[in-house]
Subunit: 277 residues, 2 copies
């Protein structure tokens, strides 16, 4: 059994007294064989005093899902190509981390020194086919920084190169798809180019538009959040608004991440840059 | 077949030309029966010009996962008690929304008018058993507003009643669990009570501590992000920092959500409150 277990299950210890198990065979696995290997493994994990077991099943092995559930596993999360199941070995309540609950998006205010902003008309989605000129928007990829996602979306939709200036505001909304929530970050970017090349599959048209013309569109004025964000953008251009800057800092475990914070008097940021120097 | 289909599959149209299908039987369903019902349904959906099909399978029906995958479905997301699969009916590329990618957490700065902050020592986790006094932290529930999640976590861990003041900063980090990312929001709250009742299961100790004593802890000073956040909190108490306020506004679809924005001169917020009045 041990030889089969080693061949069938790839086992890695995690940092919390548990193990992460994957089935990495490139060929389908017989569910009865898998069942006996899994039962023997659970016995061993209990003897070893293991806590949480994570079982990653590629979609190729969807025939093993039912087997795992019968062996006491429950679902944790899924991606297009795999399902992650978990089982808590001790008799205590489990301490598995919560699943991801939010999708992260950006709405991007790209404004040049003539106070013109980059606006698009979309081909599909809820604004598809309307005459609304709107900021480029998009979903931040898994593992992508918000500031980088904003730059990428603008480049993809309009071909414009940009650099990140500031986060102006954000919105949290719920039940965006099934029980999941959304966070939408309004980012201000500075354009580094001006010639627009639209992404034909998603974008109907794009142009540089005076900020006041954008704000004067009836749809923007009649919809509270659009109007609010337009006012924030205008205040920013008038020098009356300070959003959050992004600072590269270290977490306590040494990981480099962005901290977003207000930087009105710059003293906090300067302190940080000196620490890094 | 039609009668069986109606009994077995609960079908609801979505807003994008697709359907959401659930298997709601309380008893296990035979996988061969399910297979023929699903094949017939796919034929019908194609005739009807449907686009995306969402299939929600409660974990009770884990025996049907393999059947659905064989019928061309792939995984979209999963929660402890169900797996959501999707299948795109037309020949075009699918436009299913991305899965949730981020977990959302809060670190809470509760400070009273004596410039004392609420701090805790945790029983477990990476800071369990250390002498570190830290801000209460926790995960925001699915569907919960960040400002409400901060209030709830403080109440749960320490029994202290609070109200939301401001969002001071936030951090985005990646690969927090498998490929998923984290957003951690630092919230400032005003206490409405002072008698601490600790949550015995998670919290070793809690107390009110002068902000300068918190900031002077060696761990805080030696770890860049802890030190940075402590400096932000001190700047805030000195009147030199403006975070983001939360304003209740309407999305374009009429949903009430919070917009978080800087409110240095209060004119934007006042404008909003007049609109709402």
């Amino acid at each position: 059994m041990e030889a089969e277990r080693v061949e069938l299950l790839s086992v890695v210890e995690d940092h919390y007294g548990g193990v992460v198990v994957s089935v990495e065979n490139q060929e389908p696995v017989d569910s009865e064989l898998f069942s006996s290997v899994l039962e023997a493994s659970i016995y061993n994990w209990r003897q070893q005093g293991r806590k949480g077991v994570w079982l990653k099943l590629p979609i190729l092995h969807s025939n093993l899902v039912h087997t795992a559930v019968k062996a006491g596993f429950r679902y944790h999360h899924a991606e297009p190509d795999y399902l992650m199941l978990v089982r808590w070995i001790p008799e205590t309540p489990d301490t598995f981390p919560a699943n991801a609950s939010h999708r992260v998006g950006v709405a991007v205010f790209v404004v040049n020194d003539k106070k013109e902003m980059l606006v698009v008309q979309e081909k599909s989605g809820i604004f598809g086919g309307t005459a609304l000129w709107k900021m480029p928007t998009g979903v931040v990829n898994e593992g992508e920084d918000i500031c980088d996602g904003a730059i990428r979306e603008v480049k993809e939709e309009t071909g414009i190169e940009t650099k990140f200036v500031e986060l102006l505001a954000f919105r949290q909304s719920h039940n965006s798809f099934f029980e999941k929530s959304d966070l939408m970050f309004v980012c201000m970017l500075e354009p580094l180019s001006s010639d627009i090349q639209i992404q034909a599959s998603e974008i109907e048209a794009a142009q540089w538009m005076p900020v006041e013309d954008y704000a004067a569109q009836p749809f923007v004025q009649e919809h509270e959040q659009f109007d609010f964000v337009a006012k924030i953008c205008s205040s920013k251009l008038d020098g009356n608004y300070t959003g959050f800057s992004n600072v590269r800092t270290c977490t306590s475990s040494g990981k480099k991440t962005y901290l977003y914070l207000s930087n009105r008097d710059a003293s906090l940021l300067l302190a940080s840059k000196q620490d890094q120097a």
